[in-house]
């Protein structure tokens, strides 16, 4: 009866599902439990977000054989333009010819579809959507989860991948340092008259950052970008209540016509922003991945990429455990995973947090400091290099799976 598997992955979102597939490629079996309905998650209009996939994350997708299916939907980012509310002083992050692109933009919906399809073909993945977990247990020899229908799932290692509110993390008593930005990200698709020329814009306003991320043209040839507009929590309700025409006008005002005439495409969605961090991302027979391990501000587009690096590191540590005959819940292996990831996520989060704080204070003086700050990033090659490497996910000790 017992179908004891290697992994019990709780949460089959972008990160949890990628983990299951990457593990399966290494012969590691898993149960994946998610409370959501995949049909809803991949319905047109459910998640209007698009994600920047770094070069390192793209390598992971190649290595787990889902890149070919995704390729037609990716829009390469040739450069990132960072400006301070459109005042003079703009940093362009542009890689050298031989360095390839900074990343690719994908609609989240496409990422989910590709992952679900790949997971379906894997015998090593037992996927249970629309399923709630009643109780979790981590013992000396393995872990179990009891489902709402009283089925008990068994494995060697439990993985918390339920996103930032992870109940598995909460139950393990792992607390996160939490910083609420009191801001909300408004997400909507835009069509625009001028081509974006594969430039991603990050425009910093005192009220919060405003990002335009290039997407592929529509079938009818209209040019598209994804907008992430960050507004203060106190203004969010007002902004969301605006008639569409007014919302459009407010957005256009902040874009200074860089992309010509604009129209809104699809529904506007809103996400509260917060920053969460914990050094502890493991427990007895437990590992956290993705937003469950680190929530962060999305302005630098690193949340998913960071989660995919968790996947690469965890799978590498687990394949090493298998090669050495160690149990998948082995404490030394988990310690290695934790040590490996802690520094990386702290570096990325520190930089992202620093960026928004630098740009989040109104007034003349901060604006001057901001311009100076940007000038500094522009003038200081190592820092710029680091930002670029970070955006492309090639700094630090990179897991094998994320190498080209």
């Amino acid at each position: 009866m017992s179908d004891k598997r290697d992994l019990l992955i709780l949460g089959g979102g972008l990160v949890g599902m990628t983990l299951a597939i990457a593990a399966a490629k290494k012969g590691i079996s898993s149960h994946v439990v998610d409370r959501a309905d995949p049909a809803e998650l991949t319905a047109e209009g459910f998640d209007g977000r698009a994600s920047a996939i770094s070069t390192a994350s793209w390598n992971l997708f190649r290595n787990i054989d889902i890149a070919d299916a995704l390729e037609p939907f990716g829009c390469p980012i040739a450069s990132i333009a960072v400006t301070d509310g459109m005042k003079p002083g703009r940093i362009d992050f542009q890689p050298e010819e031989h360095e390839g692109t900074l990343g690719r933009m994908f609609p989240n919906r496409r990422l989910r579809l590709a992952l679900f399809e790949a997971a379906q073909g894997e015998d090593l993945i037992s996927y249970r959507p629309k399923t709630n977990v009643l109780t979790r247990h981590r013992g000396d020899h393995g872990v179990t989860a009891m489902l709402a229908d009283e089925t008990v799932l068994e494995a060697s290692l439990m993985v918390g991948a339920e996103g930032r509110l992870s109940p598995t993390r909460e139950e393990a008593g792992i607390t996160m340092a939490h910083w609420d930005y009191s801001h909300r990200a408004m997400i909507v698709g835009l069509t625009h008259s001028k081509p974006h020329e594969n430039v991603a814009w990050e425009i910093f306003y005192p009220a919060g950052p405003f990002a335009l991320l290039p997407l592929l043209d529509d079938e009818d040839g209209s040019h598209r970008s994804a907008l992430v507009w960050t507004v203060a929590e106190k203004d969010a309700a007002g902004v969301l209540a605006m008639p569409r025409s007014m919302f459009r006008a407010e957005v256009a005002k902040r874009m200074h016509g860089v992309l010509g005439e604009i129209e809104l495409q699809g529904d506007i969605s809103a996400y509260p922003l917060s920053f969460q961090h914990t050094v502890q991302i493991t427990g007895d027979r437990l590992a956290l991945v993705g937003d469950a391990a680190h929530g962060m501000h999305p302005i630098a587009g690193q949340g998913l990429n960071l989660g995919l690096r968790d996947v690469g590191a965890l799978v590498e540590v687990m394949s090493e455990a298998a090669r050495l005959g160690l149990d998948f819940g082995d404490a030394q292996m988990l310690a290695r995973y934790q040590k490996w990831r802690a520094l990386d996520s702290l570096m990325v989060m520190g930089a992202t947090d620093g960026l928004t704080r630098l740009f989040g204070i109104p007034g003349k003086l901060p604006s001057a400091i901001r311009r100076l700050g940007m000038g500094m990033v522009q003038r200081t090659p190592p820092l710029k290099r680091w930002f670029m490497d970070e955006a492309r996910g090639v700094s630090g000790e990179v897991p094998e799976l994320l190498k080209g």
Partner: protein, 245 residues
């Protein structure tokens, strides 16, 4: 099958509970065997490489010992036996202490691994020959070292591989293993008697006298950034392969 009384030994319920607790203690990565747990992946990495080289196997295989037999002498609660069993070997573990063997059995059962554990002196158990013979951190506790090594050699099948590890007898090992580690509680007091430690040269002599040839030893060192790791520095602890001459 030699010692049937050991294999069929029946354990009373309260004893089973006692051995279960003992196993839990041995297997607690933060408990009194913490040092052994940290050492385990390091010596397993060496053993894995030795296995791949010796039998020219696939370095990615997760069952490189499939179809092979393995004997671990001084097995404790099975910290090495269980990985060897997962790698596909038919494993026999021997330990002088009946308590350790009972704890090892209790743990292997929980792990769902079939391992043949025996307690007693290796020479009196009448075991046959094995493709892989290991003995980690044991020879330093043994009085007649030549008899011990020859006993191991007698259980090595033709074409087989032996792997031994032990602390070196240097001033560094005296300071760290006996002094600091005990003071810090990293290993229980009285675990090590420095005078009994064997140098790599002495071990080679013992192995050669038992009709074996010896590979190049690797050191197990410690650094603040890497923790315990394999290195060329043999001063503290070393691990080495041997095979029939």
């Amino acid at each position: 099958m030699g010692d049937a009384t050991v294999a069929n030994e029946t354990i009373r319920p309260q004893e089973a509970a006692h051995f279960g607790a003992l196993a839990a203690e041995w297997w607690d990565p933060k408990g009194s065997s913490a040092m052994l747990h940290k050492l385990n992946p390091v010596r397993l990495a060496f053993i894995r490489e030795a296995i791949d080289l010796h039998w020219a196997g696939d370095i990615h295989s997760v069952k490189p010992l499939a179809g092979k037999s393995a004997l671990d002498v001084g097995c404790g609660a099975g910290l090495l036996c269980e990985p060897l069993a997962r790698l596909g070997a038919n494993v026999t573990g021997v330990d002088a202490a009946a308590e350790n063997v009972a704890a090892a059995r209790a743990h292997a059962e929980g792990s769902g691994l079939a391992i043949d554990y025996r307690h007693g002196e290796l020479g009196s158990l009448g075991l046959g020959q094995f493709d892989l013979v290991t003995s980690m951190e044991v020879i330093e506790h043994v009085a007649d070292k030549q008899a011990f090594v020859s006993g191991l050699a007698a259980h090595l099948a033709p074409g087989g591989l032996m792997v031994l590890s032990t602390p070196n007898r240097t001033l560094a090992s005296r300071a760290l293993l006996v002094g600091a580690a005990e003071a810090l509680g990293a290993v229980p007091k009285g675990t090590h008697h420095w005078e009994d430690f064997v140098t790599p040269e002495e071990l080679e002599e013992l192995l050669v006298a038992a009709g074996l040839t010896v590979g190049t030893p690797k050191g197990i060192s410690w650094s603040p950034t890497k923790g315990l790791h394999l290195s060329d520095d043999l001063a503290l602890n070393y691990i080495v392969t041997a095979q029939r001459a």
